[in-house]
Structure formats: C-alpha cells, structure tokens
Symmetry: C2
Subunit: 280 residues, 2 copies
C-alpha cells in the first residue's frame, strides 16, 4: 500500500519505520527539505519531498503535524489527494480536529497513537514506538466502514492496543490522565517558587528527591505541548481542573479540621484507586 506521512517528526517518522517494515511504500511530506533528506537517509520513508504532489497516489495519509497546524495543513493538501484516499491524523486532542476535517473529507477518521518521548524530531523517530501503546480511533456515524477497516488493519501492524470511542469521550479521558496531571504538576512547581525565604527554598531544592521529581515531571515538560493541551481541549481541561479543585479543598478541609481518620481513609482509597490506572 502507498502511505503518505505529512510532518516528519517523532510520530510521523516512527510510523514510517513500522509501515516500511510491514512492506508498505511510505511517502513523506515535510515543509523542510533537510528533514525530508534526513528521513530518507534514516530509512523512515521511501521517498520524501516538500512538494505535496508526492501524495497524489497515496491510498492513506497520516497527518502528523502539531495540533495547531492540523486543520490548515489538511486544507492545503486536499486538492492533491486521490479522491478515495483515507485521511487520518495523530493529534492528542480529537473533537476540534474531527469537527474541522470531517466536513472537508468524508474519508477522514481522527486518530491518536499514544506514544511519546521527551525528545522530538525525525532523529528521535524509531521502529516499534507504538508497540503495546494505545492507539485510539474516533469514528463518527458518518465515517466510512471501509476507511475504518483499513486504518484498524494498519494499527494492527504497529502492534498497538486498539481503542475506539467518540472524540468527546477521548478528550474527556485524556484530560483526566494526561492534561490534568500536567496542570497539577506545573502548579506544584509554581507554588514552590513562591517560597519567599531564599534559605528555605535552597534547602527544599537540596532535599528534593524521587517524590518531588516524579510529581513535578510532567509539569516541567514541554511548554508548547502543555499550552496546546489547554488550548485545544479547553472545556475538558477546565472541567477536570474544577473537579480537582474540589478534591483538593476537601483534603485541605480534613487537615484543617484535624480529621485524621478520614484523611487516612481517603488516602487508602487513592492508594486503591491508583492501581486501576497502572499496568499490572
């Protein structure tokens, strides 16, 4: 099969490696000629270009640009696509992308391969990035069953764990487990920065160990990515923040009111609840 990849970064490049390994012909499109050459040299694509003509025979096209460029990139490419080409994207928020692209291209289905690394770009791309990771598709009532079937078959070659849900449900779920943790964790770092006594702050920095490191990790991550989560999943992120604030206020009240037994019960519950989110 001829597969187009638009945007040759970590995700696009890694998809390219795996699709080539499965025997497909991978055609890359990048805004940057050097990135195209690097992708060919690394073996992530068979061919690559800055010219969208390269996509004209592609049977399926993966949009792998940052969230903020997804809709405009898609619109500029549609004139070059074969009329029966299946189109999908890899954005980490789905409702806004699906709303923008489905009306433009009936063969579009939103997707989200949930794999990442702290480093980005084509040189970070690697074979097997999606193995055992979730890959979500968000088809709608309008989606073509044949397009979905084709994408599911390709996802199976990646050896991902396949999930299917509505774009709204996807965005709510990732707000809980991906976007809210970033906001919670960033607020932890920001509040520590409010310590006005320099000696105490310095001591805190010296004493910080794995507990602080783990809790602050995603809040000290990529700022552009954090902003995109909030901007493109705004309603769900705000909803989760509101619920979080209530939970925080409740826990704070237990401490204010010296309700130690209740606090311990709450912490037993969170200990138990967490195991539901963690791979055995």
């Amino acid at each position: 099969m001829k597969i187009g990849i638009v945007g040759l970064g970590l995700i696009g490049g890694s998809l390219g490696f795996d699709f080539r390994a499965a025997g497909h012909q991978v055609l890359g499109l990048s805004r940057n000629a050097e990135t195209s050459q690097t992708a060919i040299a690394l073996g992530a694509v068979d061919e690559a270009s800055v010219n969208p003509q390269i996509l004209r025979n592609a049977e399926v096209v993966f949009l792998c640009t940052p969230l903020g460029m997804m809709a405009q990139t898609a619109q500029s490419l549609l004139p070059y696509l074969s009329s029966d080409a299946v189109l999908t994207d890899v954005g980490s928020v789905k409702a806004s992308v699906v709303e923008a692209l489905e009306p433009l291209w009936p063969q579009f289905i939103g997707g989200h391969p949930m794999a990442g690394k702290t480093i980005a770009g084509i040189t970070a791309a690697q074979p097997g990035l999606f193995v055992d990771r979730p890959y979500v598709l968000t088809p709608t009532a309008q989606s073509s069953p044949a397009a979905k079937e084709l994408l599911v078959a390709l996802i199976q070659t990646l050896r991902s764990r396949y999930y299917e849900c509505s774009a709204a449900q996807h965005d709510r779920a990732v707000a809980w487990i991906s976007h809210l943790p970033v906001m919670v964790s960033a607020s932890l770092i920001a509040s520590c920065g409010q310590e006005s006594d320099a000696a105490t702050l310095q001591l805190a920095q010296a004493l910080a160990s794995s507990g602080f490191q783990d809790t602050s990790r995603v809040g000290g991550g990529n700022p552009e990515l954090g902003r995109m989560m909030a901007q493109y999943n705004r309603a769900e992120v705000l909803r989760s923040l509101q619920t979080y604030r209530h939970a925080l206020d409740h826990l704070t009240a237990l401490i204010e009111q010296n309700q130690w037994e209740d606090l311990e019960t709450l912490l037993h519950q969170t200990q138990q609840d967490r195991s539901q989110f963690i791979d055995p």
Copy 2:
C-alpha cells in the same frame, strides 16, 4: 562505640548495618521478640531485646519508631539511659519532636535521614541506604556541641549529605518537596475517581501511561505515612496547600481567559524552576 537503635524497621535496621560495618557495637530494642531475633539473624544488630535494659551502656541512641510514638517511647526509655548518652531521632517532621524531647533530655538533637523504600520493616533494611542521601540535624541554641559533633561523625560514616537547619526550617522545606506533593498527587487520584461516566473512567484507566503514573505515585503511597505528614506538620502543610491553591487558581484563570501566551510563559518558568530541584 556502643550505639542503641530503638525500633528495628527499615530505617533502624539500615542504620544498624552501616554502624556495624564501621566497627560499632549495635544494640537493638524492639517491642517484638521475633523482630529482635530477625534483626540479629540478618546482621543488622549485634544484640537485640525487648528489654530497655539493653540500652544502659549505649553512648548514643537513635529513636527509629514511627512519628506518632516518638515522644512516648522516648519518655519510657529515659530512665534506662546512661546520663551522658546522646539521643537523636529519625522522624520526618522535626519541630514537634524537638519540642517534646529537648526539655526531657539535654543531650537530645533531632535528626532526619531522608531515605526510604516502598517496602517497610526489618526485612527491607539494607546496608548503604543513606549513601548520597540527605541527613538533616536540627540543633538548637541549647544543644550540646559535643553531642552534635558525635552525631555528625556518625552521619559521615553513612556517607550521607549532611545538612543543618532549624526544626522550623526543616519542616517548611519538607512540606514543599515531600508533604505537599503527596496531597497534590492524592487529590489527582481522588478527582479522577469523581468521573461519573463509567465508560469514560474505564477508558481513562486503559489510556493512562507514564505521565499519570509518575504524577500519582506518591498520592497512591502509604496512607499512614501521608496522614502522619499532615498531622505532625499540620501548619506547614496547610501553608503550602494554600500557596498551591493560589498557583492552581492562577493557571486555571489563564485557561479560562484564553491567555495562551501567558500560560506558555508560566510553563517555561516551571520547566526552568524544576531543574533547580533535580539532581544533575
């Protein structure tokens, strides 16, 4: 030197291993005869007993009981100690312990070896647990310089990083980097548990990966320990929670008001600030 260890768990047992390796004679006291025998069999102590008489010749005594038992345990032991014995504790909160014990024993100085494991008890004890970890002493104006000198020398044999500060400053610093993260992280788990749609909750659980795992780790930890932090460091934990809530409200307001540039600036700041807390 004859060193008494009161409470033969992870910390007490690990101290015993290292002090024995440095050539000291380690005398263990436990409430439990079986624990005493296990400690001897493992090599964490030279002798152990359930009878406080075992401490009568100890030149220095480490109180290694849980925080909630520190003061009452100390009081019951004082009649058995040699009058010039140096006394210290290993509690993770210092002001309350120092206030309770310093008036009872002039040779007392509070301490906090900051090492831990998820598993507890004498069978989890190990040599070298404190290597490169912080060990804080909190002497006061009343503290005996000779007692401090003796403890600092012992801490050096553990190859810990030594810090000295007031009990109040210790408690404020650990509120930021140890106790607040537990409350923040537990509230994250508690808020996810509020998702009322069962299918969305199940999807969130299936999609959760390293970001959620890391941010939720300390909030899903030992409930008794979390309660003790809040109970014994109540004022500082509440103070840090109040500052945290302001930081959370500020970040939430940026999202509510679509101030994306400001949000990205804040996340750049937290990315930079975090590096001050993390070992290079």
